[in-house]
């Protein structure tokens, strides 16, 4: 789609805002509607849009495959380690109360970290799924579609 000028310009303008909105949904999730799942998908949407307009190879330069493989488990690890932190600090698994001296602040902190982990994993997984399909060599002829 290299020659679709309008598309390229519009998406170049849009992508930063999509990312910003993703971050908003991510970090505002504990006060209003939002959270890691939604944010992750929005975040991934930005990268997918980029890949669609500028090509898969270009997108791979932004986030290499290796980074994705690293990011997927990273989010999960953040989640699980927060859970274990609860145990280590004397509470139960995923107990946010003990994360800080004040239980309310602990809850706040806990849910932020957890959602961050979720967001990272979801975004990385969505991009991986897209890449897994888009990156496949053409096996289907034009006529077949």
């Amino acid at each position: 789609m290299r020659h679709h000028l309008i598309l390229r310009v519009v998406s170049k303008m849009l992508i930063p805002f999509i990312l910003l909105f993703g971050l908003y949904v991510q970090f505002h999730g504990d006060f209003g509607p939002g959270g890691g799942f939604q944010a992750g998908v929005i975040f991934a949407a930005a990268f997918i849009l980029y890949a669609l307009v500028f090509g898969d190879d270009q997108a791979r330069k932004v986030i290499p495959d290796k980074a994705l493989i690293l990011l997927v488990p990273m989010g999960l690890l953040i989640y699980a380690l927060t859970g274990f932190a609860g145990i280590l600090l004397g509470g139960k698994f995923l107990d946010y109360d003990v994360l800080s001296s004040d239980p309310t602040q602990g809850q706040h902190l806990g849910i932020l970290v957890i959602e961050l982990g979720v967001g990272i994993t979801v975004a990385a997984v969505m991009i991986s799924i897209f890449r897994a399909y888009a990156g496949r060599t053409k096996a289907i002829d034009k006529e077949d579609w």
């Binding site: 690293l70 488990p73 999960l76 274990f84 995923l94 946010y96």
Partner: protein, 499 residues
């Protein structure tokens, strides 16, 4: 110790869960071989935890663990009682025994660049199965069920290197499994609609005054059908034979020994803990749905097995029949019958684990497992075929093996309910097992070998040792039945008394 012991219930699930992403990291820096070792050690840790949990619930009392310190009816509760501690032990035990066998088998059957992801999926599957078993929250069961199922579909599809039919098998399982899980979640939703709770213990309490509510009936039906699809009760077994046949050996061993058993456990949980045989509609289900289907399953599975030429598929159909035995025990709804089911969950894991592992050894050497290719194998691979024969005897239910113990209780259960024609049917279907086992024995020992098999050697020790551990357990628990019958009796009494 204080850091570990009170948290054992959650560690049982959290350790394999966190191990899965860590395992992915082995893709970096040429540590691929370590993935297997890592998975193995995680499995053994899980086994230790399960053992500790079981000994605690058997000797002391049930354990309840509130995730995130949210008290039970509101937060997610992990609840360990003898039945699920027992199932936990089965799952982690099979995994711990199967993994030493896995190294060579996986190297042979799966491309080397996929090993790390394969073991990651395996760990996720383990997490899911353990989670389904340990959780005390109905919706959480669904989540873990899907974790295990999704990873199972992937694991089955990795068999594509051997045979492309693994793909369609995984696809069909995906469709049917998802329908089953969705039915299950509809049922949960309907129950939630009337009770407003998802905690199993709480659900049981709140359902008591609602036995005439039609939404409850619908929810019950959805849950039963959903789990029966997952546990492959005839006629909802269509996904099972191909899935077992074309999956890699390790996956078949693990799935055959654990995944359907976990679904049986879920069914037991809902039938007895949540609803209980005091409800009329539950009793009607036993008598008019589960009992006839179980009997048909026993025969349809065994008869189909007799005509199979692919030995893996043969045992897959035999699994359908064996699930019939388990469901028969459930539907009898008396102490020996339920004991038979619970014993058979354990015993069948031992015998099918051993059988599929022996077939895994055959695949390792031959690459194929049709009856025709096994001619004269008894001489070339005496230890493998010996193990196969002995585990087959256990499947038939020869006295001194675990199969006999469960069959004994099952027959006792039918006679106690006065269904003595069914007792004869049970006996008849075990005679069918004699036929298909003996088909294999005859081919392996009495047929002349073809020239191709002349150069065959026995599989390496690392594959034989786990196989024989399982075979010996088949006999050990056939003679020393203290542990198994004690747990089974305990559970059966709670289910029937507490319901």
């Amino acid at each position: 110790m204080n850091l570990i012991v009170p948290h054992l219930p959650v560690l049982q699930v959290a350790i394999p869960l966190i191990a899965a992403p860590i395992c992915v990291l082995f893709t970096f820096g040429g540590h691929r071989k370590l993935a297997w070792l890592f998975t193995l050690s995680i499995s053994w840790i899980c086994l230790l935890i399960a053992g500790a949990l079981l000994s605690r619930v058997v000797l002391e009392t049930d354990i309840s663990y509130a995730i995130g310190s949210w008290p039970p009816p509101f937060g997610i509760e992990y609840r360990v009682d003898p039945i699920n501690a027992f199932v936990l032990l089965i799952i982690s035990g099979v995994s711990a025994i199967a993994l030493p066998f896995a190294r060579l088998s996986v190297e042979k059957e799966i491309e080397s660049d996929r090993h790390v992801l394969f073991y990651t999926c395996y760990l996720l599957c383990l997490t899911g199965l353990l989670g389904v078993t340990i959780t005390g929250d109905a919706f959480n069961i669904f989540v873990f069920l899907e974790i295990s199922s999704l990873s199972t579909y992937v694991l089955i599809a990795t068999g594509v290197r051997q045979d492309r039919r693994a793909l369609t098998a995984a696809y069909n399982y995906l469709i049917l499994g998802t329908i089953g899980a969705t039915f299950f979640v509809i049922g949960i939703g309907l129950l939630y609609m009337v009770t407003g709770t998802l905690n199993i213990a709480d659900l049981a309490e709140r359902l008591k005054p609602l036995s005439d509510n039609r939404v409850v009936h619908a929810g019950f039906a959805f849950i039963i059908i959903g789990t029966c699809l997952k546990l492959a009760l005839f006629p909802m077994h269509a996904w099972l034979p191909n899935a077992y046949t074309y999956a890699p050996s390790l996956v078949t061993v693990f799935l055959a020994a654990t995944s359907t058993k976990v679904s049986v456990y879920v069914l037991l949980r809902f039938l007895f803990t949540v609803f209980g045989p005091t409800y009329d509609f539950v009793n009607l289900t036993f008598e008019f749905v589960l009992l006839p289907l179980a009997i048909v399953a026993m025969f349809a599975g065994s008869v189909t097995a007799i005509f199979q030429t692919n030995v893996k598929r043969l045992f897959a159909y035999s699994s359908v029949a064996q699930l019939g035995y388990m469901m028969l025990g459930v539907s009898l709804c008396n102490i020996p019958g339920l004991m038979a089911t619970i014993l058979h969950i354990f015993n069948h894991a031992l015998m099918k684990g051993a059988l599929f592992m022996a077939l895994g050894c055959v695949v390792y050497r031959l690459g194929a497992i049709s009856l025709g290719s096994m001619k004269g194998l008894g001489r070339r691979m005496p230890w493998t075929m010996g193990a196969l024969t002995l585990a087959g005897l256990s499947l038939i239910g020869v006295p001194g093996t675990v199969g006999f113990i469960s069959k004994w209780h099952l027959i006792l259960g039918t006679l106690e309910s006065g269904y003595w024609p069914i007792a004869i049917l049970i006996v008849g279907s075990s005679l069918l097992a004699v036929i298909y086992i003996w088909n294999i024995v005859e081919v392996a020992y009495l047929e002349k070998e073809t020239s191709r098999e002349q150069t065959l050697k026995e599989v390496p020790m690392t594959m034989l040792a786990p196989l024989w551990v399982l075979v010996i357990l088949n006999f050990y628990f056939g003679i020393d039945t203290d542990l198994t019958t004690r747990v089974a009796r305990n559970v059966a009494a709670t289910f029937l008394g507490g319901g």
